[in-house]
Symmetry: C3
């Protein structure tokens, strides 16, 4: 395995990761597990400042980035302006990037506008990590998703992975596809007809010779899958509220559905993932199943972000 | 005195504190005074991360929690979303609790909704400290109030304590009652008729054999009291603005009123407390009196929160 | 040079600085350059807590204050309430000052209301640094501006400095004047007639025997100047949008204008400054000129704020 150096590089999109890169990030994340799990301390980021630029609320992503940085002994500065701050004064992201280069050693940025993080990175002379740019990319989430599959199943190769829910607008699943394609997986897309995987992504997968099929019921998606990746069906996507309610209910996972599909226990037990927050699409009666991995998945955000922060700043 | 272990426990309500608990917390707070007063440094919370979840503005409580954590060598992560953050995406507090467990060693949470902190604590596997849940509880404030009385008067037992102002909606006084009842105090409730102490609390006190009386003028409350605990009469409680103005004025403490009541100096000088912020209900001409304890009271928030943070994380 | 002690002093206005003070601050800032530029680490602020009270969004000023504090080993607590926080509950700045004294060792405060920082400082027993009080003062910006001129030109004495753009409402230029007057400079004010330097400042300069002239075109201002200090012409200053567009365009600096004025390269190359954010008044084709100093100027905020924090807390 050729180890690619991430030093000084931005993390903007999952497209920039090769299979080797992914495996390397996961390996380093694993080495940080004890620190992430509060059993050991570290100071490999000592003296290093991360600018936490979250121009949009995001409890989970922000907390895990800041926790990752601090548990490695680093520092965090923030201008936590969810109202887009001085950007509201009309500054370009490019200029913000120029400016923040002078203060921080690394930047984690989230913004509702697609392309905003790329633009900031162009102005920025220190590494920038995309923590989600609206409908665009969310590479750190996709990496922690792959890491979670590895931890839960031992491997990614050979698995059947069902992506379910809103496959049309869900940034998370789109980012994830671009990592999954490096593994020999079978994909199942389970969604309401209105929220199908867009053609561009299906073209992409055909181009990369990734095996996939589409189904329109959640149960069908579950049967035969090793991993179920649930996503949220957002109300704001629907003009018709009744339509939303109907579809939402059809894509709610609960214990009885899992039982019907034979995915509760034993060798056919399915690994259940979700980027969170959930708003009812996974019933709480699923939470205690051994395969319910979504809270462990959220926890995996810390070692993955530790690995990325350490990589791009050249501390590892 | 049996020393109760707080390790791993949540601090959700003043109801969970026995007299021994209260005295123990105050004793430990006292041992942190030099660190809180910036005369010594400490690192007993080294490696420990507090999640600061303030879903509501609160300069004083938030600053004192974060100051307490940092002066003890701990770290703070925050997703300071006063617009209720991803909760606005509909996540349950339970799920937020599950998630934050993975990142932090301890959580300080404030939220405008009663019961929200309890729900988060149910999902959370690390200790949660309630920093105020709307009209619900505010246990850390009540503990620092008791601590202030002890520091100012040497003891709580034997004192006559007047609670004045808005006794109907004031969360602070309700939380405080549940600690005061462990001491042999006489209580005086001084409020406008519209803002009297609710029956449930009076029942509670009768049940616990706590001596109390109600008066409807501030002056009457002051005469004979050792401690005056003022609270804010909030405009938003009144539909009629003129009514608000009338009542507000009747419950303004100033130097001349104190002088008339003989509470200014000497052995009958009264200890004046207020949870702050004040909005005019204590005149600035009172600030320089030896008994004006409200700014010292605010300062006491640091050692008390230091004690609680150290307790629940098992660092002490 | 008599070295004035800043220990325990507030930094509220540029008026409080003598020439010796300015030189001294710049000298100390220079000694912090390696730390600010991430080449060395420091812990001279160890154990020291800065309260970061930004009641208004300000990415640049806030990030540079927090970066300065943390790179010197200090701690930051914040109640980042851009909605003016508990002040919305009506607390006076005086009371907030009393309160924050109990928690922090030093305060950096920004607020949209003129005089707010002075009032907080009156209540506060620890040093307060004004990080901008609306139309009032912005002393740390003015100091970093002078520092930038020194670094870029070697000296301030003997230079011709053109202040351009909105000279009527621009807080930055007003604060800067009060420092420039300590040096033997020639000033040129280039602005639209509607946005001229107010009479009070011109009186002030005449009183101090500072040489200045007014011109109404940007090109005229550039010719013969050593330093060009651009400011933003804010749309909100104009009732008539068409008028705004006209004036804005007339005060846009681009490469071709600079070339016409002979300020691009060589011994007559002009040093171009801007407090940022810019919103189009400097064209990006200027960015790569050797004299384009505005991003270096933003970077200079860190060593200057390091010097001020270290001074007022007595760590230096």
């Amino acid at each position: 395995m050729t180890q690619i150096s991430f030093k000084g590089r931005d993390i903007l999109s999952t497209e920039q990761f090769s299979r080797e890169d992914i495996l390397h990030v996961c390996e380093v994340a694993k080495s940080f597990e004890k620190v992430a799990q509060k059993q050991e301390t570290s100071d490999i980021m000592k003296g290093c400042v991360m600018a936490s630029l979250f121009y949009e609320p995001s409890t989970r992503t922000r907390l895990s980035f800041e926790t990752a940085m601090k548990r490695l002994g680093g520092m965090v500065v923030t201008a936590a302006s969810e109202d887009t701050s001085s950007l509201s004064k009309g500054e370009t992201f490019y200029d913000t990037g120029k400016m923040v280069s002078a203060y921080a050693d690394v930047v984690a940025m989230r913004h509702p506008k697609r392309g905003s993080v790329d633009e900031l990175a162009r102005g920025c002379s220190v590494p920038v990590i995309n923590a989600g740019d609206g409908p665009g990319q969310h590479p750190t989430q996709a990496l922690l998703d792959i890491y979670t599959i590895m931890k839960e199943r031992g491997t990614v190769d050979g698995l059947t992975v069902c992506l379910a829910g809103d496959l049309k607008y869900g940034r998370t699943v789109h980012s994830l596809l671009m990592l999954l394609r490096h593994f020999s997986v079978k994909l199942v897309f389970a969604s309401p007809a209105e929220l199908r995987m867009p053609d561009e992504y299906k073209e992409y997968l055909r181009d990369k010779n990734v095996d996939f099929k589409e189904v329109d019921s959640l149960e069908e998606g579950i049967r035969g899958s090793d991993v179920l990746y649930m996503t949220r069906v957002q109300q704001e996507r629907f003009e018709d509220r009744a339509e939303y309610e109907r579809l939402k209910l059809a894509f709610v996972l609960d214990y009885s559905m899992l039982e019907r599909c034979g995915g509760v226990t034993g060798s056919s037990a399915i690994t259940i993932m979700h980027p969170l927050p959930r708003v009812g699409e996974i019933s709480m009666d699923v939470d205690d199943l051994p395969g319910a991995a979504y809270f462990r998945q959220a926890a995996n955000g810390v070692p993955i972000r530790m690995a990325l922060l350490a990589f791009v700043t050249g501390r590892i």
